[in-house]
Every structure is written in structure tokens, then in C-alpha cells.
């Protein structure tokens, strides 16, 4: 069947989403600014904001602060941050974080827990659910939870959100999303995504990569993860396993990796390798991040063993980056998690390898930056992912959540 152009309803839905997305990402904006930025006329903006206001997604108010300009001030459209929120979960090897994030990307409240490395994966869900429940209880009366997402350090199948592989956090084939969704009982599905993919999303939408549509995010936890944004979209691959930069082989026959291969980037620059090079033991109970920071600090203080360890790791990281630069020609590479510290501590090695190993044309303009969102890249990414649905079709999603159908199985 031939389909004509988009219907009036499609256009309206698209415009509502676009407007909501704008105030969600860029913050409160006056009607005049919205009209200019979105290329819509003022009466359209007025109609759209009226719809969104009625749905309780935004509110309009007079601009704050001294208005020095002549004429009637343009009303400012603000996202209803405390009334429309998502739950964002970060599952790290050493820490668990749950946050209630309001529309506009404001972290309203959060619970953080330390996870010991030998704890039972079965406990995981209990801890996450308890954290989330206490956050939901604190929410304002009448506030709506519009989504939930988990960042997980492992590969996740996109079709059903099943965790396929998470060597650093041994859970095996686990349908974490379904389990969480059922236990939470909020009537919303819980998505599960690879943590570094979410980090890429977060840095692209709110961090160092706001102006860059071709970026690569590298995340260091115990392992090394990656997320690739190409032409403004996350590269997921066929089944959602894309972007596993940590398992790019940089040193054939090198150190054994948890995935079974040898010489993966993760095996050459991961936390355990850095500790081994520096001649240090993993201290039970100490988060890996602190162990890495200790080594960077010792290197800075002149400890030659720590310095050499950092340089070795930096060189391998340089090879990984050089390959990525050649293949993807990114405008920006962002180092997050422990790789932030490693980048700042071993930039000379990384960039030297890049200068000799990458094509001149591709390396010339690539920017290397540290994550602007600091330690919260995964969490922010999970929140953004959870907001995606309501931003795509604001009224429909809200209507569904506010008047729940009678079949929450």
C-alpha cells in the first residue's frame, strides 16, 4: 500500500517530541528561543506547549531575574523535572548506583552501594530493587516514572535485553530487565544496555561530545568498554553487541583475556594488567578505580615502577586508539572511567603511538578529551536511554502511564 506523507497527527507527535527534547537537553527556554531554534512559528509553539503543559510534562512561567528588556516578556518553558522522572541503574564491578533522574536530566536523588567482587550475583537484583523502591517512595506525590534502564558491563542482546556475557561480573545468561521490571511493579519495562554504549550516548548528548556526531567513548572499569557514535547514532551492530573495543586484539599472542582470546585491548590496558605491571596485588575491598588512581599518583610522585607500568599500558592504549582513528575517523575520542586517569597520566605515550600509527589525515583533527560527566557517564546514559520513549511520543506514553490499563500481569 502506498503511504502518503506524514499525517497531521505524525507531525504533531514529532513536533511535541522535538520541543520536549529541546528543553530536556538544553534546559528551560523562552517561547521566542524555541520558535527560533526549532524553526516553528510562535503560535505552533504555543499550541505545543499547551499540550505538553496539560500532560504535565512542562510548565510555563515568567522569566526569572530582572527583566531589562522592553515589551512583554516571552514565557519560559521548563521541564517538569520533579514530576516526570526515570530510574537509572548503574551496575559496576565495584559499585551499584540507582538514581531518580528528572526530565531535564536533573539527578533528583540517588543511592550508591559498594559491591564486593565476590558477592553473589543473585543478591544484585535485591539490592537494585531496594534502592529503586526507596527512591520511588521519596518521589513527589503524583510524579510519574516514565522509564527505567540499566547500564551493565557486558554484552547485551538488543532483541530481548538478555545479558550474554559479562566476564567481570559473572551473571551468565540473565534477563535482568524482566526480573527488575517484575520486582519493581511500576508497570514499565526496564531496558538493559552495555555500560560503555550508554556512556557514549551520555557524552554525546550532555558531555564532551555535544557538538560531535562522530565520536568514540572508551570506558575503563575492570575491563575496557566502548561505544561508537557514527553520524549521531549509536553503532549497535546486528544484534546489539557492537562497540566491544575492549576485545579488539592489539597484541597477537599477548596477555590472556577473560573472553578466552589473547592480547585484547582490555587484557593489555585493563585494571588487573596495570596492577600486575606495577607489581601490586589486588586489595580485597578496594575499588579498582582507587587502585588505578593510586598508581597514577605514584607515577606522578616519581615511582619508576608505577611510571613504567603506566607507560606500557599507555602504549597499548595508543595502538587501540590509532586503529579506531583509522577505521572510524572520529572527530572526538572520550576517555571515561579509569581511562580518564590513564589518559591524563600517559597521554605522551598514547599520542606518540597515535602520531606514528594513525593515518595523518585521520589523526590531524581528532580531539582527545576526558569525559565531561566524570564518574556518572553510565548513569546519565541510562537515564537518557530511559527517557527515549517519552521523548519520542510524549502524550501517548504519559497517557498510558497515568491511566494504567487493568492488565499489569
Amino acid at each position: 500500500m502506498m503511504k502518503g506523507g506524514p499525517s497531521q497527527e505524525d507531525i504533531r507527535r514529532h513536533n511535541l517530541g522535538t520541543l520536549l527534547r529541546f528543553v530536556h537537553l538544553r534546559g528551560p527556554a523562552s517561547r521566542a528561543t524555541l520558535a527560533e531554534s526549532l524553526g516553528l512559528n510562535r503560535s505552533t509553539i504555543m499550541a505545543l506547549t499547551a499540550d505538553l503543559t496539560a500532560a504535565g510534562l512542562v510548565r510555563e512561567e515568567l522569566p526569572r531575574g530582572p527583566g531589562r528588556r522592553a515589551g512583554r516578556p516571552s514565557l519560559v518553558v521548563r521541564p517538569e523535572s520533579t514530576r516526570v522522572y526515570v530510574l537509572a541503574f548503574e551496575v559496576g564491578v565495584d559499585r551499584l548506583v540507582v538514581a531518580r533522574v528528572g526530565l531535564g536530566g536533573i539527578v533528583l536523588d540517588r543511592r550508591e552501594g559498594v559491591r564486593s567482587r565476590d558477592s553473589d550475583p543473585a543478591d544484585l537484583i535485591g539490592v537494585l530493587v531496594a534502592g529503586a523502591r526507596s527512591l520511588v517512595r521519596k518521589a513527589e506525590r503524583g510524579a510519574v516514572c516514565v522509564g527505567a534502564a540499566v547500564g551493565f558491563p557486558g554484552t547485551v542482546r538488543r532483541s530481548d535485553d538478555t545479558i550474554m556475557f559479562g566476564p567481570n561480573l559473572d551473571v551468565g545468561d540473565l534477563r535482568l530487565g524482566d526480573l527488575l521490571s517484575r520486582r519493581l511493579g511500576l508497570g514499565i519495562p526496564v531496558s538493559v544496555c552495555n555500560d560503555a554504549n550508554l556512556g557514549a550516548l551520555a557524552e554525546h548528548e550532555r558531555g564532551a561530545g555535544v557538538n560531535s556526531d562522530n565520536l568514540i567513548y572508551l570506558h575503563g572499569d575492570v575491563g575496557v568498554g566502548g561505544g561508537i557514535i557514527a553520524h549521531g547514532r549509536l553503532l549497535t551492530g546486528d544484534e546489539g553487541y557492537g562497540g566491544e573495543i575492549g576485545h579488539m586484539i592489539v597484541n597477537p599472542g599477548g596477555r590472556p583475556c577473560a573472553c578466552g582470546s589473547k592480547g585484547c585491548l582490555e587484557a593489555e590496558v585493563g585494571e588487573r594488567t596495570l596492577l600486575a605491571h606495577a607489581g601490586r596485588e589486588e586489595i580485597p575491598g578496594q575499588p579498582g578505580r582507587d587502585a588505578v588512581r593510586d598508581i597514577v599518583a605514584s607515577a606522578d610522585a616519581g615511582d619508576i615502577v608505577a611510571r613504567e607500568a603506566l607507560q606500557r599500558v599507555g602504549t597499548w592504549l595508543g595502538f587501540g586508539v590509532a586503529n579506531l582513528v583509522n577505521i572510524f575517523n572520529p572527530g572526538l575520542i572520550v576517555f571515561g572511567g579509569t581511562l580518564r586517569d590513564i589518559y591524563l597520566g600517559a597521554a605522551a605515550q598514547i599520542r606518540s603511538v597515535l602520531a606514528t600509527g594513525a593515518l595523518a589525515a585521520s589523526r590531524e583533527k581528532v580531539k582527545l578529551r576526558t569525559a565531561a560527566l566524570g564518574d556518572d557517564t553510565t548513569l546519565v546514559g541510562a537515564a537518557e536511554f530511559a527517557f527515549a520513549e517519552v521523548l519520542a511520543d510524549p502524550l501517548q506514553v504519559l497517557a498510558r502511564l497515568k491511566a494504567p490499563e487493568d492488565s499489569p500481569v
Binding site: 588512581r293 597521554a347 605522551a348 606518540s352 602520531a355 590531524e364
Partner: protein, 307 residues
Amino acid sequence: MNPAGNGREPVARPIGFPALPDGPDGASGPWNAADTLTDHDRLARGGAARWEPLGMSVTPALDLRGIGKSYGSVKVLDDVAFSAYPGEVTALVGDNGAGKTTLVKCIGGIHPFDTGEYRFEGRPVRVGSPRDATRLGIEIVHQDLALCENLDIVENLFLGRERRRGLALDEDTMEEMARTTLSGLSVRTMGSVRRRISTLSGGQRQTVAIARAVLWDSKVVVLDEPAAALGVAQTQQVLEIVRRLADRGLAVVLISHNMNDVFAVSDRIAALYLGRMVAQVSTADVTHRQVVELITSGTSGEPGKRR
């Protein structure tokens, strides 16, 4: 500031793609596959022909040519050329006594140079005093920071340039500006803007000194060894601030002895050796070893892709 864009602009594709002037494999390969070339290929290949330093088409914010400076009979700078571009961090490196600090003092108008030309945003200017430099939008953060310990953050930021409302000081506006500037540097750890400098840590003081330099809509900021006396965590923060300043469009000049810091944030490296500028190269084109050689011997074994 991204003069070259991100390479996504649709480029009109000529029919029958011409042989490339000096691409890696020149005209030798069979190029009849031109139809399957993507914009990406074209940009990558075409881009390879350009060896001039990046930002060549952009007017430097600061452009010094043929600078000479002597203290009495001691010649300190000899025919030095130096430029700093908007949106870039230019690292100025050199051994002790190479002339880095003298060059910075010339830039800041503290010591006028003897010979040479000083261009700012493309026009020749005369910078005879620090006030001249400030008026142009050139700010220097000195190694000793020059902060008054007994004054608070706001008072330091506006020292000598206080905002007035009538006869009184406009404290509200100054506080607001201080807060905006500090939050623009992503500094959340500072607490109240009314804290005295004497209560701040080294990293926080450095941040205040940098904030004072960028408060005035400045165009060029010169930082003399900003991380010299700081711990690792604070050094990392300062480096990130330095990078952010450039990403916002300022021309930043960073003096540092730490090669890691230089490689972590710079776009371009200018190496002084015995009062002469021996190289000004793109950081993307050099290795650690080459830069160390430039600093210690004034030449690098493999000159790399310099002009």
C-alpha cells in the same frame, strides 16, 4: 570553534574524480572506482595533501614575528616567531633558561621587546604595558598566581577592576559574575564565592587565578606552569579546565615542563631552545621523543611533518 566542521557537509562530487596531487598512492592506482568513493574517502585522501599546520586558514589570535629581546648585553630571545590560535591550546616548552618566561612577559607587555612585530587578531598592535595587553583581551596567569590571601574570591577576581553602581560597589553583580564564571569552569568544589583565598587549596587557588583571567571576555590566556605545585587530582582538574577554555574558543598558551600534561591537552607545541623558536608543530604529528629532543638539543632526529 570547529573551523573545518566535522567532515559531514555534503560535498558536491565532481564527475570523474581527478588524480590526487600528492596523496599516498598518487595517480598510480586505478581510480575508475570514483563512483564508489564516499565523502569520507575523499576527505581523508584530499586531506592528506595538506601538510601545513592545522588552523593555517584561521587568523591567529596572537602572532609574534621576529621577536628579539636583550637584557643589557644578555641576549634572551632571538628572532622568535610564535602564534596562538583561537580554540587551541598551544604548549610552550623549553629547557630552563630557554626564554619561555621572557616570551610570556613580552606577550603580557611587562617587558616590551626590542625588535619584532606583535600582531593581535591579524592587526599589528603595540603592547607597551600590561594594561595594553589586558585591553586587547590578553590575560596572563603567573606561576605565583598573584592572588591576595586576605581577600575573598570575588574581591580577588575584581581587584582593580571593581564594578560600581553609583558610588558604591555593585557586590551583587560581581558575586553573580564570579559564580557564573566558576560554574562555567565546572567548579563545584569551591563552596561560597566569599571564601578567603587563604582558606583555599592549591588547586582551588589556581582555579580562581584562571577564573580571573577569563572573566573579562578575554581572547588569549597564558598559563605559566599551572600544575607545577599541585597534586595529581588537582593537576587533572586544571588540565581539564585548560582544555575547556580552548574548546570554548579562547586561544590558550600553556607553559609546562611535564610532557604528559603537554600531550594531554595541547593541539600544537612550540619549542624554544636557547632563545630561538626551533619548532612549532601540531601535537598530532610528533612523538614524545621528538619533543624531548627539540627541548634538549634544538633539533629532532626525524623532523616529522613540519613546515
